[in-house]
């Protein structure tokens, strides 16, 4: 029996084949599954990002819904405005889903995102996170992980700071719903989209979508990397309601070191063991914190203790 996190999916497609995504595109898989759930219930707002291209350059159209493009930093506000405008013209039902990359979420979009979250705009904000500006050829974003290469953090000066924790920022806004998801767990992803659709107010989905072109990974490993990110707990699957009720959706059974995830990506090729250790330590600390918030036992607490000892 295939894992329940695989789920069962509608046969109907709202992403059309022939789209412009690169071979092995993670964001394409994510959007395909998001739209299987949202179907004709939502319109889509896209700020500058890979999806500006994937959704079709004129005259092509790859999505079977209304898609509105908007300037890079403006997605959250534009989305809120569309929702408000729809209500004003007598359509309270159509949902608005913003589809922003990590740049449009973590970096240039953060102010508008925070504003919309604080106002509890009635929209779903989806960040498909490929951890750098991939559409323009792999420039660093604040979602780029520690130790990763990009064209603006070239070796040996690879990114020296950890990835911004956008979920904590969102949780701090006490939004009705915020969740992480990734393409290797499409059932989990779908159910989170469904849960988001069922709620009102500001809903945030942080979806890790590997980018083989940017990450320097084999194009067939997109889903595998997504899975390894979860299994190594670099990207745990969890959700939080109202900034207080935390739930971890997938508890890895076995300890898998982060290197299993890092090793097949060229962007991490300059990492030294001490840097890998630093990443692992970060994972252990954040996992401990997450387990604590979710009220579950950390079955890997020995690993955390190991790092604490190592630091002495």
């Amino acid at each position: 029996m295939i894992n329940t996190l695989m789920g069962s999916f509608s046969q109907e497609e709202f992403l059309l084949s022939g789209h412009n995504a690169c071979p092995g595109c993670g964001p394409a898989i994510a959007v395909r599954h998001i739209m299987k759930v949202t179907a004709s219930r939502a319109v889509i707002v896209i700020p500058a990002s890979c999806w500006s291209i994937i959704s079709g350059v004129v005259p092509l159209r790859a999505l079977e819904t209304v898609v509105m493009h908007c300037p890079f930093p403006s997605a959250a506000a534009t989305g809120g405005g569309i929702k408000k405008g729809l209500e004003a013209v007598g359509d309270p039902h159509t949902q608005v889903l913003v589809l922003a990359g990590d740049g449009g979420t973590f970096d240039i979009g953060l102010q508008g995102l925070s504003g919309a979250a604080e106002r509890n705009e009635d929209i779903i904000f989806v960040c498909y996170d490929n951890e750098a500006y991939m559409n323009t050829g792999m420039q660093k974003s604040s979602a780029s992980p520690y130790g990763s290469y990009s064209t603006t953090t070239p070796a040996p000066k690879v990114k020296g700071n950890p990835k911004k924790d956008i979920m904590k920022i969102m949780a701090a806004h006490q939004v009705p719903y915020a969740a992480t998801a990734t393409i290797a767990f499409p059932g989990d992803l779908s159910s989170k989209v469904e849960r988001a659709l069922e709620r009102k107010g500001f809903r945030f989905l942080h979806i890790l979508t590997p980018c083989p072109q940017g990450w320097g990974s084999p194009i067939d490993k997109t889903v595998e990397l997504s899975r390894l990110a979860v299994l190594t707990r670099l990207f745990p699957l969890w959700e939080v309601e109202g900034g207080v009720n935390y739930r971890i959706n997938f508890l890895p059974e076995e300890y898998l070191p982060v290197n299993e995830y890092l090793k097949s990506q060229k962007r991490f090729s300059s990492l030294e063991q001490s840097q890998v250790d630093f990443i692992q330590e970060n994972v252990e600390r954040q996992w401990e914190e997450l387990c604590h918030k979710a009220g579950v036992a950390n079955r890997f607490s020995a690993a955390l203790a190991g790092h604490k000892n190592g630091r002495k």
Partner: protein, 543 residues
């Protein structure tokens, strides 16, 4: 007073351009490598003595389609209930699932299919296949005599009957079933199972004649004259003598004979101390049987170590549980007693591997008091007694011959599954003789043996991550659901789920790769939990 005039009407702005759906964009042109459906052999099938297409029927069992699983099963194994009970489950040894949690209980699912068959044998897809075959043939139905009603004979009889021959099985014992009736202990194969299997075969038109000893009651040449073909599946049911002093004393018997006598009811009770000599399944079975028949103390002597024992570990463990004492690295040198067995003299051996020359250690002799000795030092084929013909390993004498051999008689003592496989191969050979021109590879309901060049699934091409860790289920259907379906597409739809380009059409077994849109990323190949897709350079066409 709100105006409803038309003064504010305007045409849409030019930026709202007419759009064209992207499928006009044939992104398949970007592709270098193409996913191609390529089914492979599962490790379980590789290890199965009868090359059973396990994942295929697992996939039907998973859906609760027992009829479907039986129809696949019978292409490989017409007696899943029997093997479900008796087989040592070599298939489970390298089950890919064991690297995730626990091997699939393949034998249990097989048994469940067999037991379903026992309750539902009236239907007949097989019969309609046979009717179709018969319609295409002229003249009288071919008649085949099968000598020996063991698993090899019955297997061949089953297939030939299904392929349209009139089959008569001749058995010299009063009970049909060969070793199944007279060799395998009741606790390993309830006789009701065998009885049911025989009942089904007879109901499907096979004639089974017991108590008819070919060579004694009827000659082989009589058979040759009266039948279009003859299969000799007489087994290897003669214990090889140990050839030590005293082996002719009363109280010395062969293991095969001992087991047979128990099953025929000739031996009802064993009293006193028993020594069993040998390390094969027959030895262990005999030791167990002796214990069950009331023997006071049963000691099994084996000349090498436990690790070297040819008997299946399951058997050894069962014997230990039954209270059998095992004495390893020990050979029997002499049997003594006045008028009957009283003791044996044995000696220790140096450690050695099977096939190596045995070295008896000097001055290690010791005596063991005993009342009964069972020799299990190998069995001999019944063929030489019957015919001077010498058969090839495939059971064929020569191209014109209508006499074939199969089973233990051909190979020496082997497992039930080996015998069934041998019977199936013999049926295919016979079919080639009986109905030349029908192409034995295309016959319905019978799987040809593997050619040996098939690709076996490598574990790292599977995707165990897609499965939750879980223990075995007692429900056969649920247990079948744990199967990865190594090498065989079971329509799980993972390729469809993960395709970024919507280039997998259909999420079932009959899915198709849409070459117009497949960009050749290979995610489907990497993610396929069955390893049933490969990336290949393809100039045209595809999966």
């Amino acid at each position: 007073m709100r105006s409803s005039g038309n003064k504010n009407q305007y045409s849409p702005p030019p930026a709202y351009l007419e759009t064209v759906p992207t499928p006009v964009n044939k992104t398949g042109l970007w592709r270098f490598l193409t996913p191609v459906r390529k089914e492979k052999i599962s490790p379980c099938r590789m290890l199965c003595p009868l090359e059973n297409g396990i994942p295929r029927w697992m996939n039907k069992a998973r859906e609760g389609d027992w009829e479907g699983s039986w129809l696949i099963m019978k292409e490989y194994n017409p007696f899943p209930a029997i093997t479900g009970y008796t087989c040592y489950r070599f298939c489970q040894e390298k089950c890919s699932r064991s690297s995730l949690d626990d091997a699939i209980a393949i034998g249990e699912v097989e048994k469940a299919i067999g037991l379903w068959r026992h309750k539902n044998y009236g239907f007949n897809k097989a019969a309609s296949d046979r009717d179709n075959l018969l319609k295409g043939r002229e003249g009288k139905r071919k008649k085949v005599a099968v000598v020996g009603s063991g698993p090899a004979g019955l297997s061949c009889a089953y297939y030939l009957n299904a392929l349209g021959a009139e089959v008569t099985v001749l058995e010299k014992m009063p009970l049909a079933g060969g070793l199944l009736a007279t060799g395998i202990p009741e606790y390993r194969l309830p006789r009701s199972i065998l009885k049911k299997e025989l009942e089904i075969l007879q109901s499907e038109g096979i004639v089974i004649k017991t108590g008819l000893d070919v060579g004694k009651d009827i000659s082989l040449s009589d058979l040759e004259q009266n039948f279009d073909a003859v299969l000799l599946a007489v087994g290897a049911q003669e214990s090889r003598p140990l050839k030590v002093a005293g082996d002719d004393l009363p109280g010395v018997t062969g293991a095969v004979e001992f087991l047979r006598d128990i099953h025929l009811g000739k031996v009802r009770e064993v009293q006193g101390r028993v020594v069993v000599v040998g390390g094969g399944n027959a030895a262990v079975d005999a030791a167990c049987a002796a214990t069950l028949q009331g023997a006071g103390e049963v000691t099994l002597l084996y000349r090498r170590s436990l690790e070297e024992m040819p008997a299946h570990p399951d058997e050894v463990n069962a014997a230990r549980d039954a209270g059998v004492n095992f004495v390893f690295q020990t050979v029997l040198k002499e049997i003594t007693g006045s008028g009957k067995v009283q003791r044996v003299r044995a000696a220790r051996t140096a450690p050695s591997r099977r096939g190596e020359t045995l070295q008896i250690l000097p001055e290690t002799d010791f005596d063991l008091e005993c009342d009964f000795i069972i020799i299990a030092a190998g069995q001999e084929s019944g063929l030489p007694k019957l015919t001077p013909l010498s058969f090839s390993p495939e059971g064929i004498f020569n191209n014109e011959s209508i006499i074939f051999a199969a089973g233990d008689a051909l190979s020496g003592p082997a497992t039930v599954a080996d015998a069934i496989f041998s019977g199936r191969k013999a049926a295919l050979s016979l079919a080639g003789v009986l109905w030349p021109g029908e192409g034995i590879g295309d016959l319905p309901g019978i799987a040809p043996p593997l050619g040996g060049k098939e690709e076996v699934v490598e574990f790292d091409t599977l995707n165990p991550y897609l499965f939750p860790r879980q223990g075995r289920f007692s429900s056969a259907q649920k247990e079948a659901g744990r199967c990865f379906s190594c090498g065989i597409c079971n329509g799980c739809g993972v390729c469809w789920v993960f395709c970024p380009d919507l280039a997998v059409a259909g999420s079932r077994e009959d899915f198709e790769i849409l070459l117009d849109y497949c960009k050749g990323c290979g995610i489907c190949v990497r993610e396929c939990p069955a390893g049933a897709l490969d990336m290949e350079e393809v100039t045209s066409g595809g999966a």
